[in-house]
């Protein structure tokens, strides 16, 4: 094998990293470098420095330390049985790329993941060394997200949490069964145990000791995870049920859904079809409804699959017309949150405006409401709900049948 240049390695190891959906860099600890002794800041809402033609935000340098891997997970481009080209960065190379990209304002920081080489502990130790060098040698104050290796030792996870803003462990698949079929070396219990340990450490780090000192920081921007959608037979209800459980159990900041997409040199166990992007989108919408709008899993996905033609809130409203129309000037917050076309901000603005007098139909646009969606479901001065009983209500929201075209 000829010696690879830094450019070759970067091409291989970012190509290998693109199946991780997360690129978030928000939250966490407030830091800056106004003292002139380092570089970087973090803690506000993250910044997307570029967008790829796949519509995804590029906020972090998202790379694998190496794509050599001893595991054989069918859905993964880096599995041992794949003939994909392999490469490995040195610690210095990752540090240099991160710092030079950061100084040119290309990125918010580093999202480092890795194939498993030799052993989980060896791999994790190398990743921790990169984060430590960035923090302690380069005085880097930007964002670091480390993908933790589930079976790494607690001491290494401790160190990782000290240098990283966010830790994540992917549950990979929605069911234990699918995981054991497609990722024979991974264990669902091992993954959940690791997430449990991270939650405990985060909570400990926020407690004040008996002597009044605050403890060492530990992953201040929390932990997240990712599930691949469409590689196994799990329905949306199972997926969202798993998410609700993960949010409650491990207080995750986010669950990411990643539509399974064809990978180079793919295993024949998997469907090599177009990635189910609309399904992925609907899952994100439903996830939002669970977390911020007071919906339960069975309300949005009681039928098993989400409606691909309608957003899950509109689909729920059409199936529950008895709950409408909602009186904008009287309804409680929970009822307003269930109106299609109303976001949390709109609802808060309505409640605020009600204190000053009756809200009228023509005010709603200024408050950010999407009236095209909300119209049939609301009543207020200047508007009487119409068409709620119409048999073709669904047809009015669902997109017309459309010929698929390639871009």
């Amino acid at each position: 094998m000829s010696r690879r240049t830094l450019t070759d390695k970067l091409a291989i190891l970012s190509d290998a990293a693109k199946y991780d959906a997360s690129c978030a860099s928000s939250g966490g600890e407030r830091r800056d470098s106004s003292d002139g002794k380092g570089v970087g800041s973090s803690g506000g809402s993250g910044i997307c420095h570029a967008y790829a033609p796949d519509g995804r935000c590029i906020s972090l340098l998202k790379i694998l330390m190496t794509n050599f891997c001893i595991y054989d997970c069918a859905y993964c481009v880096n599995r041992v049985s794949s003939k994909v080209e392999r490469a490995r960065f040195s610690v210095e190379e990752v540090v240099r790329l991160t710092m030079e990209f950061y100084r040119r304002n290309y990125i918010e920081g580093l999202f480092l993941s890795s194939g498993i080489i030799r052993s989980p502990d060896d791999t994790m130790a190398d990743m921790v060394r990169i984060a430590k060098t960035l923090r302690e040698v380069e005085n880097f104050r930007g964002y670091i997200h480390l993908k933790t290796i589930p079976d790494a030792s607690p001491e290494l996870i401790d160190e990782a949490g000290k240098y990283a803003d966010r830790l994540s462990i992917n549950v990979e698949l929605p069911t234990e069964r699918a995981l054991s079929d497609l990722a024979p070396e991974k264990s669902a219990t091992g993954i959940r145990r690791a997430m449990g340990a991270v939650r405990l450490k985060r909570e400990e780090s926020r407690e004040v000791t008996h002597t009044g000192k605050t403890r060492a920081r530990f992953a201040p921007a929390g932990q997240s995870t990712q599930m691949i959608v469409g590689a196994d037979g799990a329905d949306d209800r199972a997926i969202l049920g798993q998410s609700a459980n993960l949010y409650a159990n491990y207080k995750l900041s986010r669950v990411y859904y990643s539509a399974f997409s064809p990978i180079p040199d793919a295993s024949r166990m998997l469907p090599l079809v177009k990635p189910p992007l609309m399904r992925e989108h609907r899952l994100y919408q439903a996830d939002w409804l669970l977390r911020f709008y007071g919906f339960e899993v069975d309300e949005v996905a009681g039928k098993g699959m989400l409606d691909l033609d309608l957003d899950p809130k509109t689909a729920w409203a059409i199936a529950h017309r008895e709950a409408f129309p909602v009186d904008i000037n009287r309804a409680p917050r929970e009822a307003l949150l269930r109106v299609p076309g109303f976001g949390v901000k709109t609802v808060d603005r309505i409640i605020d405006a009600r204190k000053r007098g009756a809200v009228r139909y023509e005010h709603l646009v200024a408050m950010g409401a999407v009236l095209k969606k909300a119209k049939p479901f609301i009543t207020l001065p200047g508007w009487a709900a119409r068409g709620l009983e119409a048999a073709d209500l669904r047809a009015r929201f669902a997109p017309p049948p459309e010929q698929l075209s390639l871009f």
Binding site: D35, R104, R192, L200, N249, D265, A266, R349, R356, F407
Partner: protein, 470 residues
């Protein structure tokens, strides 16, 4: 009257003028605001005047108005001037049904977006320098007049380097101190070698199977592309995406060389020796995969008992709680701490006893980001009894302590009347003496602190009785 605001410090100058105009009672519609050069209108004597006043508006309102003043709309100064006077007269802030207020809020939002895009899309290029710090330069073209409001961000982020951000109108310079000047030199900085690495990254991180050009352009509109080194890659990436996906689908998966596969698989198998058959560790390993009742699915892990193989006393609780579920160890949460404190006070050394639970998975109902404890039902207790009996069968303790109704139910078949039975000795199924007491979480739930104190003392007395078996 025409007022010419300076190019640098526009907003601050506007504020000073408005304060003065209000004191003099000048009506907003009498003022013509411009920025930079402009003929001065000195015929101020005939201005329509109202009663003079001192202005006071909320900090929130002022911040939002000042943000909106960075907008490029020429009407913004008059609009804000009028709005400030109305706010001063008692108009409530934030009412979006007021057209002027709504316009200001919308323009502030547009300015914030422009600033956000500046923070995102400025691309520094390294330039040679004689100084001790590295030096970088960028050229950026904003929609609005945001350089002064948008660049302090770069000063806190890039504190250890010298940098310049030039825009068509204003240039920001930082060398430890941030300064602004009118732009004279509009030359773009020369390309930087690291840009090629960045372009490699941009092309490689793109997934050709998920082309969504509209989504990209709504966040990274074409107007920014000319100053983004990666943007000229976009047309080819999009054009070739489909062919790349088809190629991936068509290519048959080839197996990697057999030798490498074998070596990797050997490494992937953990080389932990299997625990000795019939030992506590073997039992623990078996229980780790237990699916005898549905409680395993939402929980993190089986929480098995812990303590010496030859313990004289086995303490049995109800089930693991939130923290035990995460840590995988029994009695480490709040109830466990109560137990530890009282056991120590009663002379019962936790390291000498074996502690376990009647049910080995945490039963809970999720409430958003919290988990509420739920008592296990009969079927679950029965399903889990096999593990408890196996633990007791291996350890053969001199005494079992049943804490709470669930443990009592599991060990004697009867969980009622716990408060009547507590403190008394009974027998487990195989005749082992069994001491009954309450569960420590009961002590935490008592609302009356006096009663809690009394109950804690009784609990300690019970544990002291157990300690005699050590």
């Amino acid at each position: 009257m025409q007022i010419v605001l300076p190019v640098i410090g526009t907003v601050a100058a506007w504020r000073d003028h408005v304060r003065r105009l209000a004191a003099e009672g000048v009506a907003p519609e009498a003022v013509r605001w411009t920025v930079g050069e402009g003929a001065r209108d000195l015929l101020a004597a005939d201005l329509p005047r109202n009663e003079g006043r001192k202005l006071s508006i909320t900090r929130e309102a002022l911040a939002e108005i000042e943000t909106a003043l960075c907008h490029s709309d020429p009407e913004r100064f008059n609009r804000a001037h009028a709005l400030v006077l109305r706010l001063n007269d008692g108009l409530g802030w934030g009412d979006r049904t007021d057209p002027a207020m709504r316009k200001v809020l919308e323009q502030a939002k547009a300015v914030r977006r422009d600033i956000h895009k500046m923070h995102a899309f400025v691309r520094f290029r390294e330039v040679p320098t004689d100084g001790p710090r590295r030096a970088f330069t960028a050229w950026f073209e904003p929609d609005h007049r945001i350089v002064e409001a948008g660049t302090p961000f770069f000063a806190t982020r890039f504190g250890d380097m010298d940098w310049v951000i030039a825009t068509p109108e204003v240039t920001a310079r930082f060398d430890g101190t941030l300064r602004f000047e009118e732009t004279i030199d509009t030359a773009r900085p020369p390309a930087d070698a690291t840009e090629d690495l960045w372009r490699t990254y941009y092309a490689s991180i793109f997934n050709p199977a998920r082309v969504m050009v509209k989504a990209m352009q709504s966040e990274m509109p074409k107007k920014y592309w000319k100053n983004l080194p990666e943007a000229d890659l976009i047309p080819d990436l999009v054009r070739n995406a489909d062919a790349r996906v088809r190629e991936m689908q068509a290519r048959e998966a080839e197996e990697a060389p057999a030798r490498r596969l074998a070596a990797a698989r050997a490494m992937a198998v953990p080389d932990k020796p299997a625990p000795e058959a019939g030992s506590l560790d073997a039992l623990r390993a078996d229980a780790a995969g237990c699916t005898r009742c549905p409680l395993y699915a939402p929980a993190t892990q089986t929480v098995f008992g812990e303590g010496p193989r030859d313990a004289k006393i086995v303490i049995v609780g109800e089930q693991p709680g939130d923290e035990e579920d995460l840590a995988g160890r029994p009695f480490v949460g709040p109830a466990g701490q109560v137990f530890d404190e009282e056991a120590e006070a009663a002379g019962l050394d936790r390291r000498q006893v074996y502690v376990t639970n009647a049910v080995k998975h945490f039963k809970f109902s999720p409430r958003g980001k919290r988990r509420l404890h739920q008592r296990p039902d009969m079927a679950e207790v029965r399903a889990c009894n096999v593990w408890l009996q196996s633990e007791l069968g291996l350890i053969r303790p001199k005494l079992i302590v049943a804490m709470g109704a669930t443990a009592l139910q599991s060990l004697t078949g009867k969980g009622q009347d716990i408060l009547k039975r507590r403190g008394g000795f009974e027998e487990a199924g195989d005749g082992t003496p069994l001491l009954v007491t309450v569960h420590p979480s009961y002590l935490l739930r008592l609302p009356d602190p006096e009663l809690a104190k009394v109950e804690r003392a009784k609990f300690r007395t019970d544990l002291a009785k157990a300690a005699e078996y050590l």
